[in-house]
């Protein structure tokens, strides 16, 4: 199936996504990687309100190359970063209402369980495709936690028909990466090295 969705994403829309489906998203992306996830964890712990809303939101694992033109930020290139690094910090983020995670390479079992428990999904973007990524960003809406440095700060982006994204881990405990890993383990067994 192919879906064209808008943020904020509804529970129903996310529940209908199945591993292998293709998705395009219009709306707001919250770009957050390693340090931003660590800071979000601190905020949760101190019960401090985040400077952006997670309810029905999309978290994008990435860091853009940006350029300042006058007073406006322009995205030169943006693609996904390896999601696995954020695995231990993601369940808390999902618990706080995030509907969709976009990244590459997949995440661990604790994340899969959180996706299931809170009705969220993990979508894979083709790694490195940063020129195409930048084309789908219409506007930089905001820059948060600038002190983390440009590669680690949180960017709020307005995107249009951002995709194709592959549903890789859905809210029904289906995990494409795990399926591939299982097949790979089988394939290796029969190899004579």
């Amino acid at each position: 199936m192919e879906y064209h969705l808008s943020t904020p994403l509804s529970k129903e829309a996310v529940a209908s996504l199945r591993a292998g489906d293709v998705v395009y998203i219009t709306g707001v992306f919250i770009v957050a990687r390693d340090k931003a996830h660590m800071r979000m964890a601190e905020y949760f712990k101190g019960q401090k309100e985040l400077p952006f809303k997670l309810e029905g939101a999309v978290i994008f694992h990435g860091a853009p190359i940006v350029k300042k033109e006058g007073n406006e930020w322009k995205i030169v290139a943006i693609g996904p970063t390896t999601s696995a690094r954020m695995s231990s910090l993601e369940p808390a983020v999902i618990e706080h209402g995030v509907a969709v995670i976009v990244g590459k390479g997949g995440m661990d079992n604790t994340v899969l369980k959180a996706l299931h428990d809170y009705g969220a999904a993990y979508l894979s973007m083709t790694g490195g495709t940063a020129v195409m990524g930048a084309r789908m960003v219409k506007k930089v809406l905001g820059l948060v936690w600038e002190d983390l440095g440009m590669s680690e700060a949180v960017w709020l982006l307005e995107v249009e028909d951002f995709g194709p994204l592959t549903v890789a881990m859905d809210s029904h405990m289906e995990d494409l990466y795990e399926n591939v890993r299982r097949r790979v383990a089988e394939n290796i067994k029969s190899m004579h090295l």
Partner: protein, 290 residues
């Protein structure tokens, strides 16, 4: 040529090399990606490969960085001659390229994690030297992305493990990496030497054109067998399944201690960016796409 002119020449060449490397994939890598799309049977993998090719072509057409991770500044320098200030000139080129192209600022202190802000710092850019008498300096840049570099591995095997042990370690490392290093990958494998030399061999192996084979026939056979095994795993582009997991396996070797069998693996994502220049003593510069 005065020392000042040499400095300036290196600096400008570094900028030109980085500009070329981040925006244009070498022809051999592009050809390997195109060939893999033709034989790939998995529909998801086909979509991933098409998307990759579309992005790579767009990047070249607009001269924009194909991936937002413009990597660490890694250089290979073959020095026919040298002059004081060479390293500082390379660093200045990296700093200016970071602002001009622009590149993403990736270089941080390993403990404080503080970003140096200009892609240089202690030990960065990383320059790997070799000496060969000539009237030029050959400079190759290989911007190295973090996702693939993070999957690097070294094993000090028992010599009795033999070729089977080498293959097993390489395959296990690739399977463990799964989709994280952005497959289809190019795999650099070092065999022999000391631990550090072995890892350097694995990285140097990534400089070879995709599709080339080791001149040593037993090593060339190992390369082909490992490529076949890796693609038979079914990991596929981005770890989503498929026939295309690696575009090439390149092995470089060195003799080692009779008690040792070091094996090193260095991953390269499909965006195998590199550019090469020759800077002649008379001030002329040749930039090859390679």
């Amino acid at each position: 040529m005065s020392a000042n002119m040499e400095d300036k020449l290196i600096e400008e060449t570094v900028i030109a090399l980085l500009r070329r490397a981040v925006a244009t994939l070498p022809g051999d890598v592009l050809a390997a990606l195109e060939a893999s799309l033709l034989i790939e049977r998995n529909p998801t993998a086909k979509r991933e490969l098409s998307r990759i090719l579309e992005n790579v072509r767009e990047a070249r057409a607009c001269m924009l960085p194909m991936c937002q991770d413009t990597g660490l500044p890694v250089f290979f320098a073959r020095m026919g001659f040298t002059f004081p200030g060479f390293e500082e000139a390379v660093a200045r080129g990296v700093r200016r390229a970071t602002e001009d192209i622009p590149l993403r600022k990736n270089v941080v202190h390993p403990l404080t994690r503080e970003n140096t802000g200009d892609n240089t710092g202690k030990g960065m850019p990383y320059i790997c030297y070799s000496y060969e008498p000539s009237d030029y300096i050959e400079l190759i840049v290989m911007p190295k992305g973090g996702g693939s570099e993070n999957m690097s591995a070294l094993a000090m095997l028992n010599p009795s493990s033999g070729i089977g042990g080498i293959k097993r370690f390489v395959l296990d490392t690739v399977v463990n990496a799964g989709g994280r290093p952005c497959p289809p990958i190019i795999l650099g494998v070092g065999i022999g030497g000391t631990a550090d030399e072995c890892m350097a061999l694995a990285k140097k192996a990534l400089l070879r054109p995709v599709g080339s084979h080791s001149p040593d026939s037993s090593i060339a056979r190992l390369e082909m067998e490992m490529l076949h095994a890796i693609n038979a795993t079914g990991i596929g582009p981005m770890g989503l399944g498929g026939d295309t997991t690696a575009l090439a396996v390149h092995v470089e070797y060195a003799c080692c201690h009779t008690a040792s069998l070091p094996v090193a693996v260095n991953f390269q994502c499909y965006a195998a960016r590199r550019a090469r220049a020759r800077i002649y003593r008379d001030g002329s510069v040749e930039i090859g796409g390679e």
